[in-house]
Assembly symmetry: C2
């Protein structure tokens, strides 16, 4: 069967607007570690997918899933030791008072629940997000999304604030921080003036969709303080930054001297099994639970728990956090060396095994090189390396491989990118 | 480890309000066909769970999951033949023009998406639901939920209508139909007068939460006509009634001479794997997709597709629809015989392997026997048979076993219920 025929069949049954990567879509049949294999047997180095965080089809995760699915797969209205044990293991990785867990299946559901909880806890309705965010696909989340086309009008109860990046913003770091903290203060004042107050600020503390900006020191802590002074909660979405991705910590927010009020988890949590949830204080979970009968049929099944535990175990035993730190540092150095030879690279930013390589037509004007980014992403795919792009101007290469990424993979990636940039 | 200690540990990490079945919660360790096994090795006949529709831990479903999870588990932004093939198999079971599929992970996500799609397609905002409904746990769905406690205020854009039941309503079936159809007309007029119009009526055509009412002939078709005349869509939630449950058809709505505009699927779709979605016309999927970049990370992965296909295959090859029809008819006859001996049984209703046994203190007044229902559900659990209860007065026994339910299981269930009713 040709890819063209399969694409046609897909259009027929899933519609022609269902999103696909690459100008020439890729038909995949197998995954293994950091590799993906297409229908013709060609191997692709996966430098994009964070869902298979411990590697595609990790045998230990697959075995945990299969074994538990053959034993018991049931919802949480019955007791099950495995589920409780996983919830204990997971919450133990957070600072006080983040000691309790609610299970969902997707990051969208986790962020929905976090916003419901924030509105309930604060009595307020207002939400602050970034001006290039995506936190999920429900009505409420689509109505605060700024990074994707949506038929939902932007919520009258929400405000979108720009996130500072020292590569872009003029002035000293202190001046930049002052300016952007003031924008959050303004948004809070507007929500208060509109009579809805502030329920929560919902952010990915790595700001992955925004292009992993270089934040000025103190910015996030000052924002968190403002949010709390206004009676709101700080919700940290760890769907992209969590599970050892940043190398230095298990959670992205731990790179900053702050503890969020609610942390939402998703994508890498089950290495591809639909597992997500939120972590917050026991008091918050219990007061919400007394006012709401919240139940999630598939959330926190013994299979989900077995998979989630296997992911945590593999991260620890294979030292994938240390690997993200070490390989991330190597890759960072290599990317900076590439920048010396290719003037289209305006900036290299990132943390651990997550990089944003911003492409510009001119280093002084920083004019975004969006079409070039698209050509590069597609040329990399043709040469067997999978990356993507992010940012409001579509000009930032997004590099985010599975965590068992080794030196040889980094070399192949850098070599291929070097060639592609050279042929641009 | 005692159940008391495990319960305490669960409260510690999941909060004390996380819902559990039974006065004495059940610690489960294993599932097999229609059986669930607790930590002490005691076997329980599962007459409640519809998620494991082809039976707990069905080996074929587990093998499909394990094999695909070891091969490739990735999102739908790449092509994959298995995913397209499953979408084709599934949509082939629906009448025209229901030929296209959008994948989600949960029924909540499917109903969210259906409402977003209905509002987009109609340009209206109003939603009609039943007055004892539950369609999901997101903000939008919680704001139209009437069957569970929720901190979300009931939406100003929604109206809840009562569903007719010939056991309860006075008059001829024609009079009852007229009266209850008029309530839908009233709700539509109110939404139009409020300036929001009608986007959709969202219902389970079996009305499972409402207690599987005896609908007067023609009611649903007349309601569907009104909804469409007002420019709204009819959304049929098949999360409880779908996947051969009703015996006569694969889908609950097929018991009525109507074709919904959107069908939402969930719970039994993956036999416990988080798999859900919606089916509608290709035109509707494509026009929504052009205005919205809708993406669901785990929805429609090759693993989800392999599991979903295995469920469809097992339903067909084990003739579980025929089994639901045959065993349902036997069980129905036995329940009616029980009703002759136990005056607390006011009515026996149902379809296929889904029964509502309404308990009353007096057959003339039909005074609900809610506390008795609770005692019966707990006494059945103590005797090794799992059921639950539904309905606004909490007085309706809910009997909904996995579909491979055989005559011997029916006999055990009836025998146990007979004893428990006798000792009441």
């Amino acid at each position: 069967m040709s890819e063209a025929t399969l694409l046609q069949r897909r259009h027929q049954v899933m519609g022609d607007a269902s999103p696909l990567f690459y100008d020439e879509p890729l038909e995949l049949v197998q995954g293994e570690g950091v590799w993906l294999i297409d229908a013709a047997g060609k191997r692709y180095l996966d430098c994009y997918n964070n869902v298979p965080c411990v590697g595609h089809c990790h045998p230990r995760v697959v075995a945990a899933m299969a074994e538990q699915a053959a034993t018991l797969n049931i919802h949480t209205r019955y007791l099950n030791e495995r589920v409780v044990r996983y919830a204990e293991s997971l919450t133990a990785t957070f600072a006080d008072p983040l000691d309790s867990l609610m299970f969902t299946c997707t990051g969208s559901e986790a962020n929905e629940l976090a916003l419901r909880m924030a509105r309930f806890a604060t009595g307020n309705k207002g939400i602050i997000v970034s001006d290039y965010n995506y936190h999920g696909n429900t009505t409420t989340l689509a109505a605060v999304t700024t990074a994707l086309p949506s038929s939902e009008p932007f919520s009258a109860h929400a405000r979108a604030v720009p996130i500072p990046c020292l590569y872009h913003a003029d002035g000293t770091p202190e001046q930049v921080a002052d300016r952007y903290v003031a924008k959050v203060a303004e948004a809070i004042a507007e929500l208060q003036a509109a009579g809805v107050g502030l329920a929560a600020m919902l952010i990915d503390t790595l700001f992955a969709n925004e292009g992993i900006p270089r934040l000025p020191a103190g910015y996030l802590e000052r924002v968190a303080k403002l949010v709390r002074e206004a009676g709101g909660l700080l919700i940290a979405d760890e769907v992209q930054s969590g599970f050892a991705r940043t190398g230095d910590h298990l959670w992205g927010h731990q790179s900053h001297p702050l503890v969020p009020d609610i942390v939402t988890l998703g994508k890498p949590m089950g290495n591809g099994f639909p597992l997500a949830g939120l972590v917050t204080s026991r008091e918050r979970v219990e007061s919400f639970g007394r006012a709401n009968l919240y139940f999630n049929t598939f959330g926190g099944s013994p299979v989900a728990a077995a998979v989630g535990q296997a992911v945590l175990d593999v991260i620890a035993e294979e030292d994938l956090q240390g690997n993200a730190r070490r390989q991330g540092a190597r890759l960072s150095a290599e990317l900076h060396r590439l920048a010396e030879r290719h003037s289209i690279i305006g900036d290299v930013r990132g943390q651990g095994l997550f990089f944003a390589v911003e492409l510009v037509r001119d280093r002084t004007s920083r004019e975004p090189a969006g079409p070039e980014a698209r050509r590069i992403v597609n040329a990399m795919r043709q040469r067997g390396v999978l990356i993507s792009k992010i940012g409001g101007d579509d000009n930032i290469l997004k590099i985010r491989p599975p965590l068992p990424f080794q030196g040889e993979h980094g070399e192949l990636f850098i070599h291929t990118l070097d060639q592609v940039l050279g042929e641009l």
